[in-house]
Each structure stands twice: as C-alpha cells, then as structure tokens.
Symmetry: C2
Subunit: 116 residues, 2 copies
C-alpha cells in the first residue's frame, strides 16, 4: 500500500482524474490534433498560413520541400481540422481552419518564449 505525505489529497485528485477523464475516443481526437502539428514540416505550414490563404504551389514556395511531401502534410493537417481547403479552378487554396488554430499557436509560442 502506497502512502505519501499528501496521500489523502493525491488520492482524491487521482479519483477525480479518473472520474473526469474524457472518453478514450475524445482523448484520441485531441491527441490527433496535437500530432498533426508535432512535426516541424507541418508546423511551418501553419505558420505560413497565418499570412493568408495560399494554393499548394505557394505553400511549397513558403515552406520548402517537394510538392508531394507538402501535399501529404496538407492532407494530415486537413484531416485534423487544422486547415481547410477549397478548390479554385486548377488550384486548391488552403487556409487555417478557424480562430482556435491561431490562438493555440500563439499560446504555445508564448509558452516557449518564441517570438512570432
């Protein structure tokens, strides 16, 4: 049996944590969002799209890499609902999904003291 100086307090927190833990499925959905932006290559795309919507060609221009790699990355970001796409003629134009995305970016940048 475990005991620590704050046994009672920690035990209550643990019990509350179990009671308030989101469903496995929701945890997974939240984790998927974080995973989408956990790679520098994809994170750069979000930073780029802060400047406004862009078609794939210009995303490639902004962040570098091959068209194929960027296209794969865009798909993952879209599936995580971090960006949205609309077709415009021959082009597909990408932009940040909503204001949450910008807010999260800014929060984390503040957190790690990164000027953006």
């Amino acid at each position: 049996m475990h005991t620590c100086d704050h046994e009672q307090l920690h035990h209550m927190a643990a019990e509350a944590a179990k009671a308030n833990m989101p469903q496995e499925e929701d945890v997974g959905r939240v984790a998927a969002v974080f995973k989408a932006v956990s790679e520098p290559s994809r994170l750069k795309i979000l930073f780029a799209l802060r400047q406004g919507e862009m078609c794939v060609y210009h995303v490639v221009e902004a962040v570098g890499g091959t068209q194929s790699a960027v296209s794969h990355q865009l798909r993952m970001l879209r599936e995580a609902h971090m960006i949205k796409a609309r077709r415009d003629g021959q082009n597909v134009v990408y932009s940040l999904a909503d204001e949450h995305v910008l807010a999260v970016l800014e929060l984390v940048c503040t957190h790690v003291k990164c000027k953006i």
Copy 2:
C-alpha cells in the same frame, strides 16, 4: 512558371510567410511541445493533473499503465515544460507547468468539440 487566379495575392502571402517564419530552432521547440502531448498516454496525464498535483504513484492510479512507462512519459512532458516536478520526501510531486497548458488543452478540446 506557376500562375493561379490569385497569383499576386498568394505570392505576397508566401513571401511574407518566408519573412516571418520563426527560426528553425524555435519551430523545433514549438513542435516539441505539441509532440509531447500528441500521444494519448501523455495527454491523459495532463488531463489528470488538471485535478491538482499528484505524486507518480497516483498518476499511475489515475491513468493506468506501468510505473516505468508513466515515468518515461512524465519525463517527456517535463522536458517539454508542460509539467513541473518537485521532490517531497520519497515522492516526486507533479503538476501542470503553468496556465498556458490548461488554456491550450481547453482551446483544443473546444476545437474538436470534446467536453472536458
């Protein structure tokens, strides 16, 4: 040469994106934060610590898994500055690093419409 209906506009956005792209090192630091919470097992620890500080034993109680696995996960979260640790006798007590962590969690949960 590429052209799209919004060639001029997208090109300017791409140029601005390149000019305002954070340093490679900063992109990496931000990505590391997201990576830390991109695994359900680690995300659960953050959800758990919303209820208050806990020693390792009680984190294990709250989120499941082995002591070793949880300890590895705690280290990654600490290295990403998402949680902080203080020793208290035989125990090490963990808590969320600061208010940014809670704010980011809440934002993303709102984003994916997950009740927490």
